[in-house]
Structure formats: structure tokens, C-alpha cells
């Protein structure tokens, strides 16, 4: 690999370790910055700089890894929050439908966690509304609050799943029907998914905390 390409790739590799958020969003950021850095280096080369100096100038122009990571943190954390909520809101009915068919085929009264799920859905919709296109009309949520909302939705879904599994386990007339197995499997899969999404939220939260600490250090300095 040519030295100028190594300089740009080294910068992007260092940045990659500092970016929070969904994998697809991080890859998109790195691809976009790679294109911009290559473009910037080409301009310096056109102005007469040798390739290595041009790549170094391009990297210098883009800012330090700390600066760029801090600038992206809020946006990527917000995207993480939206990703968590979207996954849970979209997959929610795929889990809930089996429990409804199993325990409450005629009335939702057999689902004791319904109010909890309702609150989780409301919080999820609020997160989506205050971080998306509706922010042209409603106040936008700061990344930390959006992430807290997403984590609350994930916890709500997990508690809901655990609640339904407990209801089934303690039910005297619970049988091993195909419907029951499907509902249990759906909840177990979502519990696993919930753990994964909560860990993603925690990682994103740490990125925000790290940037806060960096800002404080810079202010003190």
C-alpha cells in the first residue's frame, strides 16, 4: 500500500475505534471520510505537494481523531437510539401476536404486561419523533436523552418478555402447544436481542461520557 494511502487509512482506523453507533452508520461515516480525505489529498497533489505530504495535509485539514470523534458522537449516538427503538417497535408485534393468540385470543386481559408495553411503545414513538423529520416542528431530543429513552424501551420489552414467560410458567392450564413454544421462542429471541441492544446503548453512553471528559480536560487546559 502506498505511503499516502497508509496515512489516510491509519487515520480512519484510529477513528474507527472511537466511533459509537450502529455498525452500518459507522461504516458509512468512514467511507464518506475516506472519500473526502482522498479528495482533499488530490487537491494538495494538484497544488504541487508530493503524495505523502498531500495525505498528511489532508488529515491535518480534517482535524484530530479526538475532534472528529467528538463531533460525530452525538449524531451517531442519536442514530443508535433510533436503531434500537426501530428494531424493537418493528419486531414487537411479531412477538406479541403469539402471546395474544395463546393467552388472550378474545380479550387482551390475559396479557398483564400490556400497560408496560404500551408505555414502552409511547416512549419509543417519542424518541423517533424527537430525533427524526418531525424535529422541524417539535423540539429535538439531545443524544443522551434519546439514548436513555431507547434503553428504557429495551428494558420495558425485556421485562415484558420475562413477565409473559413467568405467566406461562405459573399457569396451571399451560400446555406444550405449538403456539406456546412459538411464543416462548419469540420472547427468548427478543430477550437476546434486548441484551445486545442494551449493550449497544451502554457502549454509546460511554462514548458520550468520554467526550464529556475530553471537553472538560480541554476547558481546564
Amino acid at each position: 500500500m502506498a505511503r499516502d494511502v497508509l496515512i489516510i487509512e491509519g487515520y480512519l482506523a484510529a477513528l474507527a475505534t472511537r466511533l459509537p453507533g450502529p455498525r452500518r452508520a459507522r461504516v458509512a461515516v468512514l467511507d464518506e471520510l475516506r472519500d473526502g480525505l482522498t479528495e482533499a489529498a488530490a487537491r494538495h497533489t494538484d497544488s504541487g505537494s508530493p503524495p505523502r505530504a498531500a495525505a498528511e495535509a489532508a488529515v491535518g485539514e480534517f482535524g484530530t481523531v479526538d475532534q472528529v470523534a467528538a463531533a460525530f458522537a452525538g449524531e451517531l449516538v442519536t442514530q443508535q437510539a433510533r436503531h434500537v427503538v426501530t428494531v424493537l417497535v418493528v419486531t414487537g408485534p411479531l412477538v406479541g401476536v403469539w402471546w395474544l393468540l395463546l393467552l388472550a385470543p378474545t380479550s387482551p386481559a390475559g396479557i398483564p404486561v400490556l400497560p408496560l408495553i404500551g408505555v414502552a411503545v409511547l416512549i419509543g414513538l417519542l424518541v423517533l419523533a424527537t430525533t427524526g423529520g418531525l424535529t422541524r416542528w417539535v423540539p429535538s431530543a439531545v443524544p443522551r436523552r434519546a439514548l436513555a429513552g431507547a434503553a428504557a424501551v429495551a428494558v420495558g420489552c425485556m421485562v415484558g418478555d420475562l413477565g409473559m414467560l413467568t405467566v406461562l410458567a405459573t399457569s396451571s392450564d399451560a400446555g406444550l402447544s405449538v403456539l406456546a413454544i412459538t411464543a416462548v421462542l419469540a420472547s427468548l429471541i427478543r430477550l437476546g436481542c434486548g441484551v445486545h441492544l442494551l449493550r449497544a446503548c451502554l457502549h454509546a453512553q460511554q462514548a458520550l461520557s468520554g467526550d464529556d471528559a475530553d471537553s472538560e480536560r480541554r476547558s481546564a487546559g
Partner: protein
Amino acid sequence: MRPETLKGHLDALLLAVLEGGPRHGYAVIEAVREGSDGTFDLPTGTVYPALHRLERSGLVHSRWDTVGGRRRRTYEITLAGREALKAERVVWDTFSTAVSALLARRQWPATS
């Protein structure tokens, strides 16, 4: 110029650049730098998140192409973005007129 000075105005500047037609991220940021004669010389990598935020708000949209073997993201202003820019211009005109009037070098009469 300190980045804080631009806070609150960067979105409008990016929209104004995109009003002229679709551009990729680096071209947008370069246009802001060149259009301000270098006054707005922010670290390039720190401006991209503002473009992403504008897309999330529906004021711009982006598409990916492949150029020279690299993935390139090109941004285009939306109808909502044009409306937001129009509103920003009105706000800025009012604000800048008022600030210019107050900062003008003239003596203010004492009131007591």
C-alpha cells in the same frame, strides 16, 4: 474564527451551498470555506455530522455512488430544506440589521 461563533448558523450555510445543486460532503465544506474567503475554516471532519443531522431532519437527502472505486455520498437539498433556508434568511436579515444598527460607531445620548 472560533467554531462556537458559527454555532446555530452552520445548518443554514450548508443548506445555502446545497441550494445551488447536489454536492458531495467535501465539496460542500470546501464551498463554505471558499465562500467565506477562509473565515469559516473549521476542521473538515467536524462538519460532516451537521450534514447527517440535516438529513435526519429531512432537510437534505443523500445518495451513494461509486467514484474511482470509492463510495461517495452526495447530498441534495429537499423542498423542506429550501423552506427552512428561506425562513433562516428572514431571521438572519432581521438579526443582522438589528446588530449592525447597534454596533454602528455612533454616540448614544445619555438618558440621565
